[in-house]
Subunit: 117 residues, 2 copies
Amino acid sequence: MEKVSKETCKKRLKGIDDALYAIGGKWKLKIIIALIEGYTRFNEMQRTIGISAKMLSLELKELELNGFLTREVHPGPPVVVEYKVTEYSDSLQEVLQVLSNWGEKHREKIRQERSGK
Amino acid sequence: MEKVSKETCKKRLKGIDDALYAIGGKWKLKIIIALIEGYTRFNEMQRTIGISAKMLSLELKELELNGFLTREVHPGPPVVVEYKVTEYSDSLQEVLQVLSNWGEKHREKIRQERSGK
DNA sequence: CCGTATCCGACACGATACTG
DNA sequence: CAGTATCGTGTCGGATACGG
């Protein structure tokens, strides 16, 4: 012990790799949060997340392809487009929770360090 | 209910934002894993993670500045440089575990979908 | 062994304008 | 409202070479 465990290390690295491939980047997790919290419309999400239309459009397509959400077009008029999370996105709830909590605590730590100077 | 809860949404978005700022990107989590698993040397980590010397050097500096690791130089000869995780990095254990597990399951899901065609 | 320096391409991302 | 098109910029990150 004390020394490197190559197997578990490789396994964890691989897992992180796969996760980042699917949900890495600046926007994907945020979009999924917005969807989970109930946002369904394009412009609504754009404002909430603070993302450009271009990026949102691109990311939504990727997320749909990967099974995280569905895109429904309700013929109008007015035509309405709704984005909804799939059940599969629920598997991310724990990830979201843990990561968001950590980020919150981390921010708090940074804040204290700066005021402590 | 059913409708958007703006408060919790904003809070989660902010948390994710802070987290990604500190540990986002392609390499930081992987480096921390390698350190936690016991790797301490530069070249060792480089090979294990599959990262270029340039990026590893850059990321190590950032991680040190943010309190995730320490850099120890043991005068030689031969001179030995060791990188070690700080206690604070332990706060990431849960994040790492959850994310890595999710990634593993996700990969498995993708694999099955492809073979199922 | 532990890096730094330099060059370079790819692309992530933003801003803006425009369309049905 | 829900996007697409275009343009421009910065950063990411690999390859290579080099130095203590």
